[in-house]
């Protein structure tokens, strides 16, 4: 790209904007380090000089305390008027040393921490970790547990996409209404999770070789009722905003991600499929029992924010189709592989990489075991973090309003970006 924007230069630049009122000018004089330019004539800050184009640039840092940055996340933006000239994401505010914690405790102790990775989809995080450990230890999963895993994953995908659409439209300016409709549906799904696993968002439900406990009586009927109401919610959303002229004008042609750039940057999930690349792990990897269900993968043509929005709406419809088939076909039987041990679980030495199609993209867990009770190396492939790397390419040249909508379209959760 055009020259690195190093941290110190930008901090220096942030405080020298000379559009400030007169009294502020004096205040800046004293704080300025001794080697600064002579007072009065505020020369252009170093960060702005490396950028072509005449006229004065305004360096603004959106966040970390900002209403629309999806958590604690800062974007240093260099603006020419309202047009974004350079954009540098700064994150790490929510880093909790997740991977080192995974190496300290036992394999089981790491499971509740995976809930906190992408705190919107705790069950898919659990499944990805369980998948990796099962590959490592060579544990099979009984039939009923596989069905429960598919149902839980698809419910998580529906409520995550519903939240994403709500946040995206909130950023586009529709204050409150779409997010309330989305959260109304999400509450129903979270109630299902609470009655199944005990917690709404921090489920900690899967174990190596199956699930922790069986479905409570009447859960399947309750789940069928919730799934039956989802198409009505999706139609309501479609009528509310899908064909809304203002939204189409705000999102079509904005933040276009070309298929080549997406593949090179390692973007996965709905963002990749919105650019037209047909890559869905449920079809490619055939993990779990997804090959038994008939569902389609929607593909976008333009790769802009509108496509990402519509792809998620269509994926929710596909998830509803999968849920119907899974709820119809769930067998009776054990839910945990008898060979799986809870406490002193020591898989044989070796390494394994388990991955699945999380709502945000390809979520992978890479484990190296040295035969002891805790993993030697515990690495996570965070889809949000990798999708975020293309943010600057999408936003440069667009307006500040577009940059916020693009950021909303990528669907990042800081828990997963910072780990």
């Amino acid at each position: 790209m055009n020259g690195g924007l190093d941290e110190r230069a930008l901090i220096g630049a942030l405080s020298t904007g000379d559009l400030m009122p007169e009294s502020a000018g004096a205040a800046i004089e004293e704080q300025r380090p001794p080697d600064a330019s002579p007072s009065g004539s505020a020369t252009r800050s170093p960060a702005a000089e490396s950028v072509r184009g005449e006229g004065e640039f305004l360096e603004v840092s959106l966040g970390p305390h900002h209403p629309s940055t999806h958590g604690v996340f800062r974007v240093d933006v260099v603006l020419d008027g309202e047009r974004v000239v350079r954009l540098k994401p700064v994150f790490g505010y929510l880093h909790r040393n997740h991977e080192k914690l995974g190496e300290r405790g036992s394999y089981l102790a790491a499971m509740p921490y995976t809930d906190r990775l992408d705190y919107f989809c705790s069950l898919t995080n659990n499944w990805a970790y369980a998948l990796a450990v099962e590959k490592l230890a060579g544990l099979e999963v009984p039939e009923r547990a596989e069905y429960i895993r598919v149902i839980a994953a698809e419910l998580t995908r529906v409520q995550n996409h519903a939240c994403l659409i709500g946040f995206l439209l909130q950023e586009a300016g529709a204050m409150g209404t779409p997010i309330m409709y989305a959260f109304r549906e999400r509450e129903k799904v979270l109630d299902l999770f609470e009655s199944l696993t005990g917690a709404r968002m921090m489920c900690n439900y899967f174990r190596f070789g199956g699930c922790r406990c069986d479905l409570p009586p009447g859960w399947i009927e309750q789940c069928r009722r919730v799934v039956a109401e989802l198409p009505r919610f999706l139609d309501e959303f479609e009528n509310l905003l899908a064909t809304n002229e203002i939204l189409m004008a705000r999102t079509q042609g904005v933040g276009v991600l070309s298929a080549a750039l997406a593949v090179n940057a390692g973007v996965t999930g709905p963002n990749l499929r919105a650019s037209g690349v047909n890559y869905d792990l449920r079809k490619a990897d055939r993990y779990g029992i997804y090959d038994r269900f008939k569902f389609r993968v929607p593909l976008g043509a333009h790769g802009d924010v509108y496509d990402r929005y519509m792809i998620r709406v269509l994926e929710m419809r596909e998830s509803v189709a999968i849920l119907d088939q899974a709820l119809a076909g769930i067998p009776e039987g054990p839910i945990l592989n008898p060979r799986s041990r809870l406490r002193s679980f020591r898989p044989r030495a070796g390494e394994a990489y388990g991955r699945l199609e999380a709502p945000k993209g390809e979520l992978g867990f890479y484990l190296i075991s040295d035969g002891s009770g805790s993993p030697y190396r515990y690495r996570i492939r965070p889809p949000s973090f990798i999708n975020l790397t293309v943010l600057e390419d999408l936003c440069v040249g667009r307006l500040l309003q577009d940059a916020i909508v693009i950021l909303g379209g990528i669907d990042i959760v800081m828990g997963e970006v910072d780990r």
Binding site: D18, P21, E22, G25
Partner: protein, 165 residues
């Protein structure tokens, strides 16, 4: 009527002086806006409603915002802290005195002060008809001039955006 006129003209004068003498450009622009509003008040005291509202609309509404936009493009918002140079001041006051002399000499030429309430009511309808009958040519030429200015501004601004895209 006298007191109202005195108050309003005092405001106008204060605004004008402040507009010239304040150090911070932003305060100058705001003071200028106060002067324009004061001028509208003067028209009101002369019961010329239409002119007063037009003044308020055009000057306080548009011209002061124009000055604000111009201010946005300048670099030095605060006057340099150095002592105030006396040369420009003397020239300024001199020019002001000249203008004052010219205005004072012009007053008798316009047939002396009109007695207040001399029946010539500046009703909007009367003004409309005279504009459209006696001064229609001037109105149309003015319209053309303004449209040309509008298009000119557009043309100047447009290419800068074009080559940047």
């Amino acid at each position: 009527m006298e007191t109202a006129f005195l108050i309003v003209s005092a405001i106008t004068l204060a605004g004008a002086v402040a507009a010239v003498s304040l150090r911070n450009l932003v305060h100058c622009v705001l003071a200028a806006a106060v002067a324009f509003a004061g001028l509208a008040g003067v028209f009101l005291t002369l019961e010329a409603e239409f002119v007063a509202f037009a003044q308020l609309l055009v000057y306080v509404g548009a011209v002061s915002i124009l000055m604000v936009m111009a201010l946005g493009l300048t670099r030095h918002v605060t006057a340099p802290a150095g002592a105030r140079a006396w040369a420009p001041w003397t020239v300024g006051v001199g020019v002001a005195l000249l203008v004052l002399a010219a205005v004072v000499s012009a007053v008798p030429a316009a047939g002396g002060p009109q007695p207040a309430g001399s029946g010539w009511v500046a009703a909007v309808r009367v003004m409309g008809e005279t504009l459209m009958t006696r001064h229609v040519v001037a109105l149309e030429v003015l319209g053309l001039l303004l449209t040309a200015a509008l298009i000119g501004a557009g043309v100047i601004a447009l290419p800068r955006r074009k080559d940047e895209e």
